[in-house]
């Protein structure tokens, strides 16, 4: 009896130590985000030290043409990269999961190259190729670069969610007279929606936050938001950038919560329908 309570006490003590440790780690992870938000209210032209509270940066943000321009540029690239990567990734995940063909192992291992190899290596390799074929750097080159690392993540994410042998439904659909394209659009694709959604979210966040690829492959004219921030680093980042990135993270979190809510709602409805 006494021994049991001793181990119980030990367990509880360990539990408290664990809680404290976890809170500490979370604090360290959230400090940079909190500081970023706080300094968006800093009443100073450059963020060097705290100088008083103001909300004017949220208004002045819209007057900063370079900043807004780079945000648009980033958004356009992220949306295009997401669409391209999700289309190629969805098809690729199906193809690599369901068919045997020569070179499949090779393509599978190539997919891991952009995921594992340091990004700078891939960026530089693409840069050399683009320069040699005389492609001018800009939106196109950045887009190719982003897709090159988004496609593998999309394939891996979607492939992981395709059920092992989902042929029965498709065969049933074809037996009932649907042709291959109808079957793909009405049976195969809908079953993959959760995987595709995750892949799209991942591609978008990877693209919009990318620095290395964009920095190496962007021409002299336009720069994405992260590249602009990197170039501001020497002079000091201005508080309007803090304001913009604060708005961005709030939008992303809100979108995430909304999609989780929708997913939960759908699941509940499905359950109710099953009953």
């Amino acid at each position: 009896m006494a021994a049991l309570s001793k181990t119980q006490r030990r367990k509880r003590r360990l539990g408290i130590v664990g809680d404290v440790y976890a809170i500490l780690i979370y604090t360290v992870l959230y400090i940079p985000v909190a500081v970023m938000m706080v300094f968006s209210f800093n009443d100073q032209k450059y963020n060097f030290y705290w100088n008083g509270f103001t909300t004017e940066w949220y208004g002045k943000l819209l007057e900063n043409d370079a900043l807004i321009g780079s945000l648009w540029y980033s958004l356009i690239i992220a949306v295009l990269a997401t669409v391209i990567s999700v289309v190629i990734g969805t098809l690729g995940a199906l193809g690599l999961k369901r068919y045997e063909f020569k070179g499949k192992r090779f393509i599978n291992s190539m997919l891991y190259v952009p995921i594992i190899v340091p990004e700078i290596v891939l960026a530089v390799a693409l840069l050399i190729i683009f320069m040699n074929i005389g492609l001018s750097l800009g939106l196109g080159s950045i887009l190719v670069g982003h897709c090159t690392f988004c496609i593998p993540y999309a394939v891996v994410t979607i492939k992981g969610r395709i059920s092992g042998d989902g042929y029965e439904l498709e065969e049933a659909s074809m037996d009932l007279g649907a042709n291959r394209i109808q079957t793909f659009l009405r049976v195969t694709l809908p079953s993959m929606v959760p995987g595709i959604m995750s892949a799209a979210f991942l591609s978008f966040t990877l693209s919009i936050d990318d620095v290395v690829m964009s920095n190496m492959l962007s021409g002299a004219r336009n720069s994405t938001l992260p590249v602009l921030i990197l170039s501001m680093n020497r002079t000091g980042v201005t508080p309007d950038v803090n304001a913009l990135t604060t708005i961005m993270i709030l939008v992303i979190v809100a979108a995430m919560l909304l999609s989780n809510g929708v997913k939960a709602l759908l699941r509940r409805r499905e359950k109710a329908a099953a009953r």
Binding site: Y99, I116, I128, T245
Partner: protein, 304 residues
């Protein structure tokens, strides 16, 4: 005779069926796996081979690439200036990896022992900060550790120092940035292997008289080794090549391999040297992956 004909007929039918089968499968296989295969070959295989090729070329007087075989770039890597950078980068990446493992393992363990629905919330809570612009998160460390920033103000107020300490543009601050940026890449693979660990094994171990420490070192640690090695790969390799952290927090004073590569393709213009450094990173990556595939499948690595 008729039996022979029947046989022939059967095999002919088989051949037709096989041909039809191949035909029926070739088009969808091509439509599905084709685009991804073409993309990977065009934008991964060819560039990778080409960068290896360029690394064996030499640099022209005007920073152009002279297409003649030479080992010049690799010899330059052994020059003390570059060699020091390589060694320092390896040290920093190693430090980051060890720190992420030591900090991340107990954290992942803590999360994995929670009920599944709590655990998935806790994992989500790790991800959220990482959707914030990574450079702005780094900039925050800069703001905190400025000469006139909150940390220095506090240290002086508390009487720990009388003069402000220079944190910014130093290696330790870059390492802090690296560890905080890389931590999730260690926690996620660790979490997924610890989570799969069966409770019954741990109970059996303690029933058989092992104390918690023995159970940890003899059961838990060996069984979660694949996760540990995934974490090593996902932290060590990116920290070896990253240049944004050292750019943001090092202010151009802290140089790692990534910065040197970037500079070869910018102002300095020595592509073969940059290519040779890239090949060095490729070789290190390849070695680690080779070791990894000795005891685990690449497909099982939790990369997302």
């Amino acid at each position: 005779m008729s039996r022979q004909r029947l046989k022939n007929g059967a095999s002919e039918l088989q051949a037709i069926n096989r041909r039809r089968d191949i035909h029926r499968k070739t088009i969808p296989a091509l439509a599905q796996a084709g685009p991804v295969s073409v993309w990977m070959v065009l934008f991964v295989t060819i560039p990778m081979l080409y960068i290896i090729y360029v690394s064996f070329m030499s640099r022209g007087v005007f920073g152009d690439v002279v297409y003649e075989f030479s080992l010049e770039s690799y010899q330059t890597l052994l020059d003390s200036t570059y060699f020091k950078v390589i060694v320092k980068s390896l040290q920093v990446a190693l430090f980051t990896t060890v720190a992420c493992l030591l900090l991340g393992y107990p954290f992942a363990y803590y999360i994995a022992r929670k009920p599944p629905e709590v655990a998935s919330r806790l994992i989500m809570l790790i991800m959220i900060p990482f959707w914030t612009n990574s450079l702005m998160r780094l900039n925050s460390w800069l703001l905190l550790f400025q000469t006139s920033g909150p940390v220095n103000t506090f240290l002086q107020w508390a009487g720990i120092t009388s003069e402000p300490i220079t944190f910014i543009y130093t290696d330790p601050l870059v390492m802090l940035g690296l560890v905080t940026n890389m931590l999730p890449f260690a926690v996620l693979p660790l979490y997924s292997t610890i989570e799969k660990l069966q409770n019954s094994l741990l109970e059996a171990s303690s029933d058989l008289g092992a104390n918690p420490r023995q159970t940890f070192f003899r059961i838990t640690l060996p069984l979660t080794f694949p996760g540990i090695f995934s974490a090593v790969i996902l932290v060590f390799i990116p920290s070896l090549g990253i240049y944004t952290v050292s750019d943001m927090l090092g202010g151009g004073k802290v140089l790692y391999i990534g910065n040197i590569i970037k500079n070869q393709f910018g102002a300095i213009r020595n592509w073969p040297l940059g290519a040779a450094l890239s090949v060095l990173l490729l070789v290190i990556t390849g070695l680690l992956i080779f070791v990894y595939t000795r005891f685990a499948k690449l497909e099982d690595m939790e990369v997302v």
